[in-house]
């Protein structure tokens, strides 16, 4: 390993990236887009969970009246919507667009037999005025206990996943694609004719991508922190460690894919085949809890799953080193295996 040769390749790769305005622009613009999108989505008050239509000849005034007299119409987290035409509203109930519909004049209500929300609302309707009765009645031998605490909102859960996903795309495509392009155009062949070793070349590619990914991930984090209220209860250094290991493992995976391929189309295809399942099965968007156990096992094969698990543990639960040691070990092992395989399989031509 010659540091001089390593640094020369590192410098050349960094320079190429920084001078390639479109690539640089995209790498900065895309995360900004993500932060802006989520900041917008999670701004404002929490959304109401249920939608109930209220029909009457004069629905607005009638709704105001019943809200004074009947507790159900004051229930939190239900959005009451004045309705002036009955028939289209019934169709909306059929389509689950309204969870429940009242005709205050005729004293009817509609629910959809197939809608769980409708079912719950009906229970609330029948019980709303008698909560006091239940707790006080001899039959209801229950004492009310309350706890309070910050909920884990979707945004808290989502931010670590988004950070990791953005990192994954940059790692896989940024390295894999570039190497395949170099091979196809003959850049690698020219380098092969020099004393530069494959290891020196590959490690320079890893380091160049790594600092870029860490810089951009930190930037996205800081940007998200400004505009979005999400939780971070853990240690920043630990989070950085997780993302560093995650980036190294994903970059190495990109190297492995690019070890021999000389066609950008094929490389792009394989990288897509890797990244899309990772995006959905690593739990970026939704939890895999309760899904097919086989799928859950499969997800453990993806580095991204471990990055996201560890990042969530740190950010949401404030986990320490001990709490994420499994993920750290797995990520380290994965990096080592991918990198080693990638280096062994690597061909200049």
């Amino acid at each position: 390993m010659s540091w001089r040769r390593f640094l020369a390749v590192l410098k050349a790769r960094n320079r190429e990236f920084i001078r390639d305005r479109s690539a640089l622009g995209w790498n900065i613009f895309f995360p900004v887009l993500i932060v802006a999108g989520f900041a917008f989505a999670f701004s404002g008050k929490p959304m109401d969970l249920y939608k109930v239509g209220v029909y009457a000849a004069d629905p607005v005034q009638k709704l105001a009246e019943v809200q004074k007299t009947q507790a159900f119409f004051r229930t939190d987290y239900i959005q009451f919507i004045p309705i002036s035409k009955l028939a289209p509203a019934i169709t909306k109930v059929e389509r689950h667009q309204l969870d429940m519909l009242f005709d205050l004049d005729q004293h009817h209500y509609w629910i959809n037999r197939d809608s769980p929300k409708g079912y719950l609302l009906e229970r609330v309707l029948h019980g709303a005025d008698t909560v006091a009765d239940i707790t006080n009645s001899p039959a209801g031998n229950f004492q009310r206990q309350t706890v309070s605490g910050r909920e884990i909102r979707y945004v808290d859960w989502l931010i670590p996943g988004i950070l990791a996903m953005n990192m994954m795309f940059s790692a896989l495509f940024g390295v894999g694609y570039v190497i395949v392009r170099y091979r196809k155009s003959g850049v690698l062949k020219r380098l092969q004719a020099t004393p530069l070793t494959a290891f020196e070349f590959l490690s320079a590619q890893v380091v160049s991508r790594l600092w870029l990914i860490l810089a951009i991930t930190s930037g996205v984090y800081a940007g998200a922190d400004l505009f979005i209220d999400f939780s971070m209860f853990g240690n920043y250094a630990l989070l950085l460690l997780v993302f560093t290991l995650g980036a190294v493992s994903l970059i190495s995976l990109g190297l492995l894919v690019a070890a021999r391929i000389a066609s950008e189309e094929l490389a792009g295809g394989i990288l897509n085949v890797l990244s899309w399942p990772m995006m959905f099965l690593s739990g970026v968007w939704f939890s895999l809890e309760g899904t097919n156990p086989l799928v859950q096992k499969l997800a453990l094969l993806f580095p991204l799953t471990h990055v996201i698990d560890a990042a969530r543990a740190i950010m949401i639960d404030g986990a320490g080193l001990a709490g994420i040691s499994t993920q750290l070990v797995v990520l380290t092992l994965m990096s080592a295996v991918f990198l080693l395989l990638g280096a062994v399989l690597f061909r200049w031509k």
Partner: protein
């Protein structure tokens, strides 16, 4: 003179194609050796096996009497038939990067001077003209101050002026005592630059020697060229060894005795206004040896 690089019985197959089929030759220190041959003859394959870029299927390569190893890279300068450099890299940066790969790089200013790169040092290497680009690639080949320089078709695609500039450059490198192996399709180029040439076809060397010796060995005649229109009758009826070139509308006559040939032409009332006489060239030699045009 000492043999610096020795190839012995090299072979290489690509599937059914025997790209190189038992080729042996020695490169003497300080000389320029030319590999000539039509497209697909195996020139690039040979040169890349010597460089260590392609593994040979059989045969051995010796450098200074020892089997070549990885260290040979430090002593070899390589200019591929086609090369790409990284995007967004200026001429100077390319020289600096390649220079830092080697333990004893040549001074960059010297390279810039030798290859006349001064005018476009800070230009993106993708924005060079063909000739400028070849000069840069040659400079990169020289960046390690190599002992042996491999040039694979260095002047293909250049205009005559740029080609001559590059010839001057190659001569300068040779004058510095470097050993050169070059491939080319151009006979004038081989004649101008090479101390020794090998003509090859279908993966084999057909003949080798100095250009002058080869010509003297194979030919003792000159060529008389006449416009086709100047010969009224059927040229084949002349009592001379005549070749008709339909496309160029010329007639070529081989002659060992010019006076006698001209006398026959005059006897047949043929005008000599368009007569040209030329010596036989490597081009003719190649044609005679293989029955193929060199620049097929």
């Amino acid at each position: 003179m000492a043999v610096l690089l020795q190839a012995s019985n090299l072979t290489k197959r690509f599937g059914d194609v025997a790209a190189v089929n038992g080729v042996s030759f020695g490169l003497e220190a300080g000389t320029c050796f030319g590999l000539l041959g039509p497209n697909g003859a195996g020139k690039t394959t040979i040169i890349e096996m010597l460089e260590g870029i392609t593994d040979a299927d059989g045969g051995k390569i010796f450098y200074r009497g020892k089997p070549v190893g990885v260290d040979f890279r430090n002593d070899a300068g390589i200019m591929f038939q086609s090369t790409a450099l990284q995007d967004y890299m200026t001429v100077r940066e390319a020289l600096e990067m390649f220079g830092s790969f080697y333990p004893r790089p040549a001074p960059i200013d010297e390279l810039i001077d030798t290859c006349s790169l001064g005018e476009f040092l800070d230009r993106d290497s993708r924005k060079l003209s063909g000739g400028q680009r070849q000069r840069l690639l040659l400079a990169i080949a020289l960046v390690n101050d190599p002992q042996v320089v491999f040039l694979d078709e260095p002047t293909t695609g250049l205009d005559p002026q740029a080609r001559r500039n590059l010839w001057a450059l190659v001569k300068r490198i040779r004058a510095q005592g470097k050993t050169i192996l070059l491939t080319t399709h151009y006979m004038e180029e081989a004649y101008e630059l090479c101390d020794e040439i090998a003509i090859m076809d279908h993966g084999k060397i057909i003949t080798r020697g100095s250009p002058k010796t080869l010509l003297a060995e194979h030919f003792d005649e000159v060529v008389l060229q006449l416009p086709r229109a100047d010969i009224p009758a059927d040229p084949a009826e002349l009592p001379l060894p005549v070749t008709l070139h339909e496309e160029e509308e010329t007639v070529e006559i081989l002659s060992r005795d010019i006076n006698a040939t001209i006398r026959i032409l005059l006897d047949n009332d043929i005008s000599l206004a368009g007569l040209q006489i030329r010596p036989r060239t490597l081009e003719d030699l190649f044609l005679a040896l293989t029955g193929e045009e060199l620049r097929a």
